[in-house]
Symmetry: C2
C-alpha cells in the first residue's frame, strides 16, 4: 500500500541517543527519519526545511533554549509538526511546561522501542500520548493543584538558599523579621515541607530556583 510514510525529525543534544532513535525508527517500514538537530536553532532550521510530521524532542539541549522553548518555536512555524517529547526526566514542571508549549506527547527514554513506535504513530494521527508514569503524575497534580509561589516568596527562597537567617533576610529585603517568617510559613505550606532545607531542595527540584 502506498501509505504516506511518517516523517520524523530528531532533536537531541546526545549523538548517541540520536543514533539510537534513528536506528530504531528507520528500521520501521512506515517511519522515516528525515532530519536531526542537536540544539534549538538547528531544530527550527531543520524542521522548517523538512516539514516533518512528528518531531521527537529532548527537553535538555545543553546550552541555549531548552526543549520546551524549542517546542514553542517549531509549533509557531507554518504547517507545524506534532511534537513528541522524549526525555529522561518526568519532573512535573517539565511536563507541564512542555505540554503548555504545545507538545502532543511525552515519553521517557527508558520506554521500550515498541512503545516509542506506537507513540510516534499516535502522535502523527494527532493523538495525545503520555507515558504511563507521566500520566499518573499529571493526574495526581490535576487533583491537587500546585500552588504558585509569589514573587516575594521566590525572593525569600533565593536568600534561603544562600543560607541567610530570618533576621538577615529581613535586613536584606527591608522588612521586619515577622514578615519573613510569615512568607516562610506560606512557602512551607505551598511546597508541602516544614523546614528550610526541605524548602530549598523542593524549590530547586520544582525549578523555582536555578541550581
Amino acid at each position: 500500500m502506498a501509505e504516506q510514510r511518517i516523517r520524523v525529525v530528531l532533536v537531541d543534544d546526545h549523538p548517541v541517543v540520536r543514533a539510537g532513535v534513528r536506528a530504531l525508527v528507520d528500521a520501521q517500514d512506515d517511519l522515516d527519519v528525515v532530519g536531526e538537530a542537536a540544539d534549538s536553532a538547528q531544530a527550527v532550521a531543520v524542521v522548517g526545511e523538512t516539514t516533518p510530521d512528528v518531531v521527537l524532542m529532548d527537553l535538555s539541549l545543553g546550552d541555549g533554549p531548552g526543549g520546551a522553548e524549542t517546542t514553542r518555536l517549531v509549533r509557531e512555524l507554518p504547517s507545524p509538526p506534532q511534537v513528541l517529547v522524549l526525555t529522561t526526566y518526568d519532573t512535573e514542571a517539565d511536563v507541564l511546561e512542555a505540554v503548555d508549549a504545545g507538545a502532543a506527547g511525552y515519553l521517557l527514554k527508558d520506554a521500550p522501542p515498541d512503545e516509542l513506535f506506537r507513540a510516534i504513530r499516535g502522535t502523527a494521527r494527532g493523538e495525545t500520548v503520555l507515558a504511563p508514569s507521566v500520566a499518573t503524575r499529571l493526574l495526581q497534580r490535576a487533583a491537587s493543584p500546585t500552588p504558585k509561589v509569589s514573587p516575594r516568596e521566590v525572593e525569600i527562597l533565593r536568600l534561603l538558599a544562600k543560607g541567610l537567617g530570618n533576621k538577615e533576610m529581613a535586613r536584606e529585603l527591608l522588612v521586619s523579621e515577622a514578615t519573613v517568617k510569615s512568607h516562610l510559613s506560606h512557602i512551607y505550606t505551598k511546597l508541602g515541607v516544614d523546614t528550610r532545607a526541605g524548602a530549598v531542595a523542593t524549590a530547586i527540584e520544582r525549578r523555582i530556583l536555578r541550581p
Copy 2:
C-alpha cells in the same frame, strides 16, 4: 590487516541508548558489540559468557544494583574486561565511586561519536580515559581545596534535603543525634556554609546531590 577486533558489551537500561551505541560502534571496523544488558544481573551474566575487552557501563540502571556496583562485580570475574563508564552525569561522587569500583574511563553521553570510539580503543589498550569536562572537574577539585564530602556525609545531605530533623536522621541512619550533629558540623565546614538550607543549596550546586 587481521587485527583483533575489540569486543564490546553494552550495559544500559535505556533501549534507545543501547541501540544508539550499537549502531555507532558496530559501524566501526575494529569494534564489535558482542552483548547487551539492561541491568546488573544481566550484565554479569553476559560479560561472563562473552568475555569482552571493554564494557560500556551506564551508572543508573533503574532498580537493583547501580553501575558502580556492577562495575565492581564484572571486574571480579575471571579475565575481567576494562570498564568504560558512559553516563549522563558527572557528579564527582559518581566519578569517584566508579573509578574506585575499577572503571578505567569516564565519558558523558553527550560526547561526539569520535570521542567515544577513541575512548573505547584507549580503554581496550588499558589507558585511562576521562571526558574533558570530567577531567577538568577532577583537576579543579584537586587544585582548589575542595574538601571531599565523605559517603556518610552525603547520606546526611540526602536526608537534609528531604527536610528531616536531626532526630529523624538519627533514627533513619541508626545512629545517635550527636553523631548527626557532628556530621552536619563537618558538612558546614567543608561546604563553607552555616545553615542547613545553605548546605542543601551548595550541595546541589556542587552536584553532590542531584536535583
